[in-house]
Symmetry: C2
Subunit: 412 residues, 2 copies
Amino acid sequence: MLQAALRSGAASRRAVFEVFARHLPGGRRYGVVSGTGRVLDELERFRFGDEELTFLRDHQVVDESTLAYLADYRFSGDIHGYAEGDLYFPASPIMVVEGTFAESVLLETLILSILNHDCAIASAASRMRNAAGGRPLIEMGSRRTHERAAVAAARAAHLAGFASTSNLMAGHLYGIPTAGTAAHAFTLLHDSEKAAFEAQVASLGPGTTLLVDTYDVAEAVRTAVELVGAKLGAVRIDSGDLGAAAQEVREQLDAVGAFDTRILVTSDLDEYAIAALAAAPVDGYGVGTSLVTGSGVPTAALVYKMVARETAGGRMEPVAKRSVGKPSRGGRKRAYRLFDEHGRAETELITTSDVVPEGGVPLLRELVRDGRTVGAEPLSAARERHAEAVALLPLEALHLARGYAAIPTEFA
Amino acid sequence: MLQAALRSGAASRRAVFEVFARHLPGGRRYGVVSGTGRVLDELERFRFGDEELTFLRDHQVVDESTLAYLADYRFSGDIHGYAEGDLYFPASPIMVVEGTFAESVLLETLILSILNHDCAIASAASRMRNAAGGRPLIEMGSRRTHERAAVAAARAAHLAGFASTSNLMAGHLYGIPTAGTAAHAFTLLHDSEKAAFEAQVASLGPGTTLLVDTYDVAEAVRTAVELVGAKLGAVRIDSGDLGAAAQEVREQLDAVGAFDTRILVTSDLDEYAIAALAAAPVDGYGVGTSLVTGSGVPTAALVYKMVARETAGGRMEPVAKRSVGKPSRGGRKRAYRLFDEHGRAETELITTSDVVPEGGVPLLRELVRDGRTVGAEPLSAARERHAEAVALLPLEALHLARGYAAIPTEFA
């Protein structure tokens, strides 16, 4: 595409591309904007070096004039986007890229890869946060997804409300609190469960979390309390009927005065399993597989579509394809959220007009101006924004069941 | 775990960890071993440098003696595994790691992340290959998954039978043939569809693939044939009822003598949609979302479990936890595939004995000896092995419907 457009001269035409979802997959009520910060980071690094150019030349992927263009490539246009952590709904233009066709079309895969992954994980994580009702969630899914996706997943989960992650690289890169517990292998390594618990407490102190389901849960809890007493930080249960097991363990702990020893549960938890444990005496959830796979929705269905371009005459003109069953709306969009008299979100308003609707909160902010990043912010800001945005949704938005978007998208 | 085991002294005990799947998720008939080569590559690079150590020290994640251990870390043990591209079934020990507890337990996340991702993608890709019945498949899913997972997904897809990928980095790193087509934005950029087609053919020659569903398919095909004639390489249809559209386009092309112009289809294809197009005049499939998300099974459910460890007395002893509902079998395994008199695979035999069963083909091969990689091979070898292994399965293994493993796993 780039080579042909360079040859026809159309490559230098101004163009506007928008990132949006035609629908919210999985019957979700809202999507979560996540990955914006990663897009900005990667944009700084998105260059074609000698290694890449040599490959493209040796394999005759593109011609010499295209290689020359790529060698000098640096995005010099503008990007606006929804603030990271904010919510989105069908057709919300969560990122708007403006520049020449050539410089903008090259960003499609980079931007979509990051946003499709991160938004999918954050959207699942946000549902888990709602289901957990204030109890802390630990992200433990690194082993269940690609080794680099795991780091991004931990970031998206923290943005959407997870308290901590077991991924140390995510702790290092993004300042997310890290947490972990021992595995069954640690208990099995020692000559007895008691020896394993002793070793762990000797090294990590009484506040540590002991895994109690390697052999027999009741016996393990007895051993743990005998060794550590009421100062034991937590126990983890990783199998069986977690609610029933937690109830028994709680009674066992309370009977010996270990009222402050917490009970953590893990084992294929998703938002539904978490919700089902609401009445159980559980103090925290470790979530792995279902988090990093988006709990049934591993990709966010976001697309990157050209909505306007310069004509031969130099005028900007809205464009849209007419493909069957894939609606697209031409023209560069503005987006506003409208709230009712109680301050609850009511409508997602998308418009191609410059007129600001009364009471509408503008959702697009400047991220990149003339190729320079101007909209970077710490992950903590996105995390706070997300909690605030969810709190302003109608209550039915927290329903876990499949359904429609929590607020309607209207086009003006 | 590492810190506590270093302190208790158990860290230096010999241990055996095995990677296996307790079941094949999604009712799949077989799993595909993929990622072995990436594990070997990453193992060479798996070190803790100053940056990582400083993070761990500053955040008090581990103590000084653990930091010292990590600073010198280099896996020095042995790894055996199923050959890449081979198949696996429930309980197949697809990778066996032997070393000290400390050096082996550190590899859990690295190995599982790679294998859980790559096996999931390859297993889905293999089903698509079966459904395509010899027609070429192009991997086009980069935009729908994490930016680095996309490169690994292209590798796994090629291993399992995809002809090519649109991911240029995968072409560069793994020598996979690359292919791509123009997007709707390219057509929309130009002042007419004809101008876009002219630009593309001028730059890429008549053998290029023209996208014909931006406005009206029949009109686009007419324009394409008028411009290029019967030498037109291919057209791509990306929306609507692909089978019906392909039929109409084929008739239109044949009517003007463009018998060799191929028809490529894309648009949310998965193995079921591909199978449903078997009778349509389609010459190739581009697959995106469903491939990179494992077509409903985005992670392979592989676990990394310690199955044997050295006792205080220096003897190796099988171990297994007794957690409810999560069966594990202790002891280091050997695995063999048994074939019937027609050469069809019949049984996956797993044993802790050293006795080789009559006619059994051993499935574990040496990958790493004393920390050195000895089992590396080109991706093409894994690709050929995969095609051969599928050809030896019972025919019912190619059923797309949910069901049981194609051959039973037996324990001796």
